[in-house]
Amino acid sequence: MERQRIGVFVCSCGTNIAHHVDVDAVCESVQGMPDVAIASSYRYMCSNPGQEMIARGIQEHQLTRVVIAACSPRMHEKTFRGACKRGGLNPYLCEMANIREQCSWVHSDRLAATEKAKALTSAAIRRVRHHEPLESLTAEMCPNTLVIGGGIAGLTAALELADAAHDVFLVEKTERLGGNLARVDLTAPHLDSARDLLTERITRVRDNPRIKLLLNSELRNLVGYVGNFSATVRTNGASGAHEEKTVDVGNVIVATGYQEFDAGRVTHYGHGKLPNVVTSFEFERMLRTGRIETRDGRLPQYVAIIHCVGSRNKEFHAYCSRVCCMTALKYSHELKSANPSCYVSDIYVDMHAFGKGCEDFYKTTSEVKTLFLMFDKNERPVIRKAAPSDDCDMLIEVNETLSGERIEIPADMVILMVGMEARSDSGEVARLVNISQDRDGWFMESHPKLDPVATTTDGIYIVGTCAAPKDIPDSVAQARAAAARILGKIAKGKIEIDGVFAEVQDERCSGCRMCNELCPYSAIEFNLDTRRSHVIPAACKACGACVAACPSGAIKGRHFTVEQLHAQIEGVLL
């Protein structure tokens, strides 16, 4: 192996590291190691003078490798790579030893901590010898976007992109646009009509020549990587015939929405058996037709609304569906305005009124004399038929938390606030676009707080209720956010691909194709002509699963090579 000139820079981090680690002793211990040209310490390596010191050191000592013993690489690796670049060194020729988060901050024995810091630093020195200069790659960005789902989120995303003069393929499974929102009458908390909200969107989508609307259609296949996807969409014709077509897109927005919880699963609520126990969506239909009446055509005097049906319950879904509380309040208003002499009991677990204007809405619902009755989420109201002598059809028995009383509530109609759940076909969608689902089936975002619309697969975005239950404003905001992310990438024209990825060394590959199946990103293709596999750098996320699995050791995981890791293992054991 060729001789290297390695510069070691040890950071004191004020006293953060120096308090428990003898920084000078670390410098001294590595000074004599082979190839180490210089070893010096500084108070704050990440400061401007610290970075300057590294850049200058590279030039003055003709360093070919740099080791920085400081904080976690998750904190400042980018900073120090930048410093190396300014010093004229390829940024990947730098390695960090984490002697703060995983050493000085967790050990109070100064001697032992110093020994550990020495070991970590020497391991980094051994590793960095095997580093190779890496360059990032670029690829073309196709400006077309595929939007899956024609609900409020999909419509909004499509419009946002098309308004910026880019082509959009909007794929909707059913024969009409609007999604679940099209089944709703008014919306909480301002009692705007859902129909009005949707009509505007749908008309604009239909009128926009940039949007290719594909109704009765499904995504069948998606291959490629960010900027260069190829999507196969199947459209079902009226007579059972179907046609498939393949389109090129740079990004995909998944807006497939949710499905309602099947109220029949909570057997003791008697949905499907008791005639006047209806789900929220069945009640929405009554509202939209303007006929709120029992099965036998009477005006209900007592209406009871039961919250959290299928939600916040270990047996069904542990999560909160977020929109049902405000929807229930909306029903109170609609019921009272349709029939002021009707009594509404709102049987809830907790009132989640978190959105803008929702707390006021809760208050105005109280003011119209809605009787709020609270029960424990581990308990369930029981519905039974009332006696003929009662002035109501049904009685709901429950332990009321706020009064501590066991009560029975009269009802002529019971509305079950069914929660949202991941669509039954969400697993299929996740597999097609290569994203993951959480344990409830919702699509997983790249980061729940900082990157809520991107996924771990570049170029695939999730918006609206396919990612988690949410209300209309949040869904619309996400749709616009995803569109903005895509527009930003389209504006750049090209995509930059990190230099760290896996590569197949042709001469070693036996063509067994084991890696093809293993790759979570389908980034490894098999070339039928050469009978060899090869990695698409833009699609590779450098997890290294294929590297570890290749039986012939033919795949090199750049920046995490066998040699680099072996050297590091030996180093930490010194």
Binding site: Q102, A119, L518, K541, L565, E570, V572
Partner: protein
């Protein structure tokens, strides 16, 4: 002087390494016997890494990944999980106690859990004493 074991840790970048960093930022103390090697995903860990560590003088090896279902790369941790029993059986045949090689799930938010695991592992390995079959391993297994 009492025996101080050397333990090599392989931590995935997204969950466990971040969890270990969190233990640091939270100043949760644990024994200094663990030396960490960062990999992007627990699926990257080759069995030879573990053997190399044991042969090179480690008394124990700790592998940490994301909890099942939380993998940054969808299911890399499942791949690690499937490899692990085979490795353990192989090591057992060579007289390496099962307590010396451990696979644990640590999320980015579980600094305390990480520290607890390291503390527990260090105590167990310390109780087992130094690993004595290093020469065997070196000759038989490490050459690849």
């Amino acid at each position: 002087m009492s025996f101080e074991p050397k333990i090599v840790g392989f931590l995935c970048n997204w969950c466990s390494y971040t969890g270990a960093d969190l233990a640091g930022t939270s100043r949760i103390q644990y024994p200094p016997n663990l030396r960490v090697v960062r990999v992007m995903c627990s699926a990257r860990i080759e069995p030879t890494f573990v053997l190399r560590a044991l042969a090179g003088g480690a008394d124990g090896v700790l592998i940490c990944g994301c909890h099942p279902g939380d993998c940054h790369y969808s299911e890399g941790n499942y791949k690690a999980m499937r490899r692990f029993p085979l490795l353990k059986r192989l090591l057992k045949d060579h007289g390496v106690d099962n307590d010396r090689v451990r696979l644990e799930w640590v999320s980015a938010s579980e600094g305390q859990r990480f520290a607890d695991i390291v503390t527990d592992m260090t105590e167990r390995v310390r109780a087992l004493g130094p690993l004595r079959i290093k020469s065997d391993l070196q000759t038989d297994l490490v050459e690849r």
